[in-house]
C-alpha cells in the first residue's frame, strides 16, 4: 500500500504481490488491501504519528495480532512500546550500530 502509484515501479517488473494506492489511515483503503484477512501488518509510512495511529487502528479495529510500527523518534517509540505496541525505531538502531562501529575502530595511541 502506498499513497503514490509510482511506488509500484520501485518493486520492479517481477512483483507479483498485490498493490493498493491510498492512505493507510483510510479504513476503506485498508479493507481494499485485505486487512481483514491479514496475519501481520507492517506500518512504515514516513510519518511517525500516522504509523502510531494506523498501527492501533489495525490492532484494535481489525484485530490483527502482529502489527509492527516504524517510529523514528526514539522517545515516542519507547512510550508506545511500553503501551504494548510493537515498535521498530531505526534511529535507535542506527545510533547503537554507529556507536559499535566507532568503538571497534583501531585508533592509534596519540603521542
Amino acid at each position: 500500500m502506498d499513497e503514490k502509484e509510482e511506488a509500484l515501479s520501485r518493486l520492479g517488473e517481477g512483483w507479483d504481490g498485490g498493490f493498493v494506492v491510498g492512505q493507510a489511515i483510510d479504513t476503506s483503503v485498508l479493507r481494499r488491501a485485505g486487512i481483514e484477512d491479514a496475519d501481520a501488518v507492517v506500518v512504515s509510512t514516513d510519518g511517525d504519528n500516522t504509523n502510531i495511529v494506523v498501527a492501533q487502528v489495525v490492532q484494535q479495529r481489525f484485530g490483527v495480532g502482529c502489527v509492527v510500527a516504524r517510529i523514528l523518534d526514539p522517545n515516542r517509540a519507547e512510550f508506545y512500546s511500553a503501551q504494548g505496541l510493537r515498535t521498530f525505531c531505526p534511529t535507535s538502531l542506527a545510533i547503537s550500530a554507529l556507536t559499535e562501529a566507532v568503538k571497534s575502530c583501531a585508533v592509534p595511541a596519540r603521542a
Binding site: I25, D26, T27, G47, D48, N49, T50, I52, V53, Q56, V57, Q60, R61, D73, N75, R76, F79, Q83
Partner: protein, 220 residues
Amino acid sequence: MYVLVAGGGLIGANLARSLLRAGHEVTLIEQRRDRFEMLADELEHVVVQGDATELFVLERAGIQRPPSIVVAVTGDDEDNIVICQLAREKYGVDKVIARVNDPRNQVHFDLLGISPTVCATSSIMALIEHEVPEHGLVHLLELPKENVEIVEVQIPPGADCTGMPIGRLELPEGARLISVKRDGQFELAGDATTLRAGDQVIAILQPGKEDELRRVLLKS
C-alpha cells in the same frame, strides 16, 4: 486554570486569546517558525515553538504540571490523536479536547477513546440536517460516554402515533419523550400528552435505538 493548546492556527490562536481574556493561564504550541514569530509578537511567553507530538516540546510547554486541559487543534488528525494519548497516558492529564479535521477520521478518535472531539464539517452537517430533516430525526446532543443522546423528531401527517397519548406508545427501552413543541408553544411531554402532525418532539434515548424510535413516531 492552566490550559495547554497544541496548534496555533486560526482555531488555536483565537482559543488562546479567549482563554487569556477569561483570566486563564495558557501555553500555545506552534510548530511553524513564521506563525510562531507572529504569535510570539502578540502573546509573548505564552507561545512555545516546536512539534507538539515531541515529548521534550510538551515538557518545555509545562505538560508535567499537568495542565487541567490539553486541547489538540493542529491541522493533522494523527498528530491530534498522539498529542491526546501522550497527554492522558504519559502525563496524567485528566481532560483532553481534540479537533477532527477530516470527518472520516472520527471513527479513529472514537476507537481510541479520545473525546470530546470537535469537527467543523460534522457540526455544519448537523445544522443543515436541523434545517432540513432528512430522515425525520435530528441529533441535538450526543453523550457517548453516558450512552445517551437527545434527538428531535417532527411528527409527519398521517403517522400512526397521531392522536395517541404518549403513555400508550411502545417506545424503545430506555427512551423517553421530553417535550413537544406545537404552534410555537413548548410543553413538557407527559403520559397524557397526545401527539399531532407537525409536533416537534424532543426525545432522549440510547444511541442505536433511532430506528426503533422512527418506527414508533414516523410510521404511517
